[in-house]
């Protein structure tokens, strides 16, 4: 036994060393692959030679075969536009000054709802025609070439009406339907990750409506997002777990009252969210979920306003009065406890000290 081990000694040792090195390498590769999965796959994509690259355009990264299966790119647009180095190239600007990014992120494409539409179904057959780059108006019109009903509503909505070649403040299709604002990343409405899934819709509206500077230009002074989040509806949405189903999120969000494609200003009086002058429209809006609501129910709804002494004096002073009363009561109770604790602990410590002295004398 011993001699057999001895005779194979040097070979066995070398084998063991090789095995160890191999194992170490394997560990490094596996853990590295796990840690830098994204990077690794990107690198793998660059070395992949099986995909079709048009001659003379082989500088850009070839599409990841796995990703390529997930979207349509018949004309190989992504062989150039999938090159990340294009991200910095912003030679074309829209009339409002915003740049057109020529880079198209494949990872976004893979999850988008339009992934089997070819690039040319939105971009023209000669997309390199620079005369009419997509701005917010032409973008909504482009979406409207298929989504006709939504486009008709949008054109007439508060967001659609103020769109112009030079003003891109108002939201267009992609501002709500794409988490990144890119038309290449449109999400399915009922996808929980979507920016307009009920759980996320308030945050999506808040991208603009929580910007007091921007809202101030259009006369919206209420803090609509924070007041919604303080309401029963908002809290119910906020506290629903991320994986909540659409049934669990059966609560009013922004669009339930204000409409989505047909959003109007509250003073329009078209039946959504009520007019500023009366409560009839507001009642109709509330009734769409609370069919038995009466006129008093609506007067108790403070909308997005903070409670103030002018509009709601009873609520303001009543609430404020009770707040101070309850704080005073609790403060008084805590004060008596604190007094008692401090006096008792003082005498307790004194007693302990006395006992300690006696003990040491004994």
């Amino acid at each position: 036994m011993v001699s057999r081990y001895r005779s194979g000694g040097s070979k066995g040792r070398r084998g063991a060393v090789l095995l160890l090195v191999g194992m170490a390498l394997a560990v490094v590769v596996v853990s590295g692959g796990w840690l830098f999965a994204g990077k690794a796959s990107a690198e793998a994509a660059t070395t992949d030679t099986t995909s079709v690259i048009p001659p003379g355009r082989d500088k850009g990264p070839a599409p990841d075969p796995d990703l390529a299966k997930m979207f349509s790119d018949k004309k190989n647009c992504l062989s150039c536009h999938g090159d990340k180095s294009l991200e910095g190239l912003m030679t074309i600007k829209r009339p409002d000054g915003s740049p057109i990014v020529l880079y198209v992120d494949r990872t976004g494409l893979a999850g988008t709802v339009h992934r089997y539409k070819d690039c040319t179904s939105c971009h023209t057959a000669d997309p390199h025609d620079k005369k009419s780059p997509l701005n917010k108006i032409s973008l909504s019109a482009k979406c409207g070439s298929c989504h006709e009903y939504e486009y008709a509503q949008y054109k007439d909505s508060v967001h659609g009406k103020i769109q112009s070649a030079t003003n891109s403040d108002a939201a267009t299709c992609t501002d709500c339907h794409s988490p990144t604002g890119s038309p290449h990343n449109i999400q399915r409405v009922l996808d929980p990750k979507s920016s307009i899934y009920p759980k996320n819709v308030a945050a999506t509206c808040a991208k603009c409506h929580n910007n007091p500077q921007l809202m101030g230009q259009y006369g919206i002074v209420e803090r609509v997002y924070s007041s919604y989040m303080r309401s029963f509806h908002g809290k119910s949405i906020e506290l629903s777990p991320d994986q909540s189903s659409i049934q669990q999120l059966d609560t009013a969000t922004c669009v339930s009252c204000h409409g989505s494609h047909n959003t109007h200003t509250i003073s329009t009086g078209d039946g959504t969210a009520g007019s500023a002058s009366g409560t009839d429209d507001l009642l109709a809006t509330c009734k769409s979920c609370h069919p038995e609501a009466g006129p008093e129910f609506v007067t108790g709804f403070l909308g997005h306003k903070d409670v103030n002494s002018k509009d709601e004096p009873v609520v303001y002073w009543g609430g404020k009065g009770f707040k101070y009363f309850s704080r005073f009561m609790l403060g008084f109770g805590l004060l008596t406890v604190a007094t008692s604790v401090s006096i008792r602990s003082g005498s307790y410590i004194r007693r302990k000290l006395k006992r300690g002295k006696k003990g040491s004398e004994e």
């Binding site: 989040m229 908002g234 809290k235 119910s236 906020e238 506290l239 629903s240 777990p241 991320d242 909540s244 669990q248 609370h290 038995e292 609501a293 009466g294 008093e296 129910f297 609506v298 007067t299 108790g300 709804f301 403070l302 409670v307 709601e312 009873v314 609520v315 009543g318 609430g319 009770f322 707040k323 309850s326 704080r327 009561m329 609790l330 109770g333 805590l334 008596t336 406890v337 007094t339 008692s340 604790v341 006096i343 008792r344 005498s347």
Partner: protein
């Protein structure tokens, strides 16, 4: 000196402080209050990460809402039952009502607390602290119930009440909840359990029983009354001594309870 101490086995004598009715009511109130608190706090502090986590544990606010409503109905039923119980009880008890004697007790207690007197206050069945706790908590519960019902049935409520009752109820329900939870957690817990005699936990509200020595010390006035009432019939075992009573029963003359005996503690 050895460390082993042989304790004399002794018979425990106790006085029933709370009857079954009172214990059952208190247990129902504790349970419903606890459920209402843990299901209500995350709604008030909805922007805390912890609230979202807590809601996820409950699998969404729907379950939390159901638990809150059920606990509320239990509390409403208990409060209603307590009201009927208190009003129909015979003899009608006025023990919980504030009386002039409470002012004397309060002054005595303050004197003792601030070391102006060694004498402990001589409480009756319910001390002024018990009364204060009761008369803070009961109207508090009524406030929570009324505002809570308005919030539970906002449409039904606004058919009879003005519209502002809903937002006002929300504000009051929210602030009163903090008062209630803070009061129970710190003030009530401290006075009920962290007394020098009951530290760290007073079981009497569950068991209904208070050891007789403690009763004599904690509620001396009521204790004297109980002893006086039971003296003619009380027969105790030989090795049991009851403060205020002769060791061998009631036949050997009368002693007043040791009311002003200074105690080493506190």
């Amino acid at each position: 000196m050895g460390r082993i101490i042989v304790e004399e086995p002794r018979v425990n004598v106790s006085i029933t402080r709370f009857d079954v009715q009172q214990r059952a009511q208190h247990i129902l109130i504790i349970t419903s209050f606890f459920v209402l608190s843990i299901t209500g706090i995350p709604l008030k502090f909805s922007d805390w990460q912890a609230s979202a986590l807590w809601m996820a544990i409950w699998h969404g606010p729907e379950n939390v809402r159901i638990a809150h409503h059920w606990a509320a109905w239990v509390m409403i039923a208990t409060c209603a039952y307590h009201l009927i119980y208190s009003l129909t009880r015979r003899p009608f008890s006025t023990e919980m009502f504030p009386k002039p004697r409470d002012i004397v007790d309060f002054i005595d207690d303050m004197k003792h607390t601030f070391r102006l007197s060694k004498k402990h206050p001589q409480f009756g069945r319910y001390s002024y602290r018990n009364k204060m706790a009761y008369w803070v908590v009961y109207p508090g519960a009524v406030t929570m119930i009324v505002t809570g019902l308005i919030l539970l049935f906002p449409i039904g409520a606004t058919a009879h009440l003005p519209g502002w009752s809903v937002p006002l109820s929300l504000m009051i329900h929210s602030d009163a909840s903090i008062l209630a939870i803070g009061w129970i957690l710190f003030v009530h817990m401290y006075y009920a359990h962290f007394s020098r005699l009951t530290m760290p936990f007073d079981k009497s509200v569950i068991t209904g029983k208070v050891p007789i020595e403690r009763y004599a010390e904690e509620f001396p006035r009521e204790y004297a009354m109980i002893v006086a009432a039971e003296r003619p019939t009380l027969r105790l075992p030989k090795d049991v001594s009851v403060p205020g009573l002769h060791p061998h029963g009631a036949s050997h003359g009368v002693e007043e309870p040791a009311l002003e005996e200074p105690v080493g503690e506190d």
